[in-house]
Amino acid sequence: MLLQVKSVSKHFAGLVAVNDVSFDVRQAEILSIVGPNGAGKSVLFGLISGMLRPTYGQVFLQGEEITGLKPHRVAERGIARTFQTTALFDQLRVVDNLAIGYRLRTTGGFWSTLFHGRRWKEDKDRTTAQVTETLQFIGLANKAFHFVSTLSQAEQKRLSIGVALISQPKIILLDEPTGGLIVEDTDQITDLIQKIHEQKKITVCLIEHKMRMVMGLADRIIVLNFGSVIAEGTPAEISRNPQVIEAYLGAGSNA
């Protein structure tokens, strides 16, 4: 078991955003979390990545508890994430964004930077190699020195996945990686996620609204509604589940 979420709840001043949610993410699978707006999916990612502290419950990565750790510590342990509203360092260039994403795998501090010591040199070489490789992988090699603000929406989404990917995570949490994209761009992102899974052997956990995409991509699906898990299973099982159909399409529907 790679990631375990155990009876996690999050209350915001009386509002229960996530209510007693438990699930596991298995090594090398693609798990999708789906659910209507306001179901608590993004809050759940916040709880796993350390941005939010759970009111109750625990989170384990490879058996070690990571509940309540600071986001940068969680990232060091090997959980990388992207955000629903694409978050990038928009004052900087594509290469800078990727280099910052790799910073947690480098060790050079003030003194080695100041005297251009051995560590600084190693960091520099490793970072350059990683940035170059990641640029190729996400297909942005021709935009390497462009400023983020000049990229298209789809390019920004790919870069944000790249920033998560370059940190060499064990698991990558993608919050609506195709939100707001047209069909062609959605397909490209889907291909990229598959490539991450197959070539890099990185476990993927993604939040997605587009059911068609999820059905084709995910090994397993978890359905959230009003902060609770209402169904869990393979895409085929989920598509037959009456509770899911009700939550998505309303009662009495024959979809």
């Binding site: 978050a87 360092f89 290469v95 800078d96 501090g109 100041l114 520099k124 020195f145």
Partner: protein, 335 residues
């Protein structure tokens, strides 16, 4: 790193260096030369303010406070007979250490709250300097601070610092040292992580950067150089008072930084040299000068948020884009 390309700037620095080294032969007027010396000193303070404010995005308004700590440190120690060359690094380290202690609580606040809490600290420093009469001499300050001890260098002999030229080379040496440190920091992964904190602190944390440690480090380095400049200032001026740590100085450096260009290395130096000169020429306007600078500041912040150097860089980028497009169009036509 492939991503960090500063070859073009290297020429810029080389020209600057040659001019700087030749300057004593170009300027004979003692008064102008004194302005140049102060320009070098305030370049150091503005460059260090630039690290915490321009690159790390934390508006520290305690900068003159740390300048003052360095100045009082050197003044008190050298008057006790301790060598300037020991007193200076010791005082700068004191400024860095106090910066660390002040940073622990204040850097947990963000944006304007950090600016306000550091401003308070800056004011406290100058009030303490004015009232701890036994130590600091109160508002009349400390007079008779000795000049830096002569340096004896093998082969060259002894260098004293009585002459303006020697004093100039002293501050120039420390300015170049500051510039070297800033250059190395800014063009490194460490510098990039400072910029990541400035740009989006939440995202920086989530991609694995310890934002608090980053801010503390940047603050401590900035305050070390503020203290260093303060120490040199005390020794060269020969007298200091609580106004050495005043908020007014911080705001002057802030104007140099913003007009010259925050988050560039040339900007703070341009600001620290050009603006005092403009100020001199506008002497006849007395206090009304500040109105002009107020308007100028508003215009710059709206239209050139990265100051003069930012505008220059924008123009260069546009020129490059234009020539790229031209090449692209020609390539398309021939292909």
């Amino acid at each position: 790193m492939a991503s960090i390309n500063f070859l073009r700037e290297k020429w810029f620095y080389l020209v600057l260096l040659v001019v700087a080294l030749a300057l004593p032969f170009l300027i004979s007027n003692r008064y102008y030369f004194q302005i140049v010396i102060m320009g070098c000193l305030f370049s150091i303070t503005t460059l260090s303010l630039n690290l915490i404010l321009g690159y790390t995005g934390q508006a520290s308004l305690a900068h003159a406070g740390f300048f003052g700590i360095g100045a009082y440190g050197v003044a008190l120690l050298t008057k006790e007979g301790i060598s300037f060359w020991l007193a200076l690094p010791f005082s700068a380290l004191c400024a860095a250490l106090i910066g660390f202690l002040i940073g622990l609580p204040t850097l947990r606040s963000r944006g304007s709250y950090f600016a306000i809490s550091t401003m308070c600290f800056g004011v406290i420093i100058s009030i303490v300097a004015g009232n701890w009469i036994d130590l600091t001499g109160g508002y009349s300050g400390i007079v008779g601070v000795p000049l830096p001890n002569p340096l004896s260098i093998p082969l060259i002999g002894e260098i004293g610092f009585q002459t303006q030229v020697a004093q100039y080379y002293l501050v120039l040496f420390f300015l170049l040292l500051t510039l070297l440190v800033m250059h190395r920091l800014v063009h490194s992964l460490l510098g990039l992580s400072f910029m990541a904190i400035r740009n989006n602190e939440v995202l920086a944390g989530s991609v694995g950067i310890n934002t608090f440690t980053g801010k503390i480090l940047s603050f401590v380095i900035a305050n070390f150089f503020a203290g260093l400049a303060g120490g040199i200032f005390a020794s060269l001026m020969g007298s200091i008072s609580p106004s050495t740590a005043s908020l007014e100085l911080t705001f002057n450096w802030l104007i140099y930084l913003l007009l010259g260009g925050a988050a560039t290395l040339a900007g703070p130096i341009i600001g620290a040299f050009v603006i005092p000169v403009i100020m001199e020429y506008l002497q006849f306007l007395a206090e009304y000068r500040l109105i002009i600078f107020g308007v100028l500041l508003i215009v710059v912040i709206i239209y050139f948020p990265r100051g003069v150097m930012g505008a220059v860089n924008n123009l260069r980028q546009k020129a490059r884009d234009f020539s790229d497009r031209k090449k692209g169009a020609m390539g398309a036509a021939s292909g």
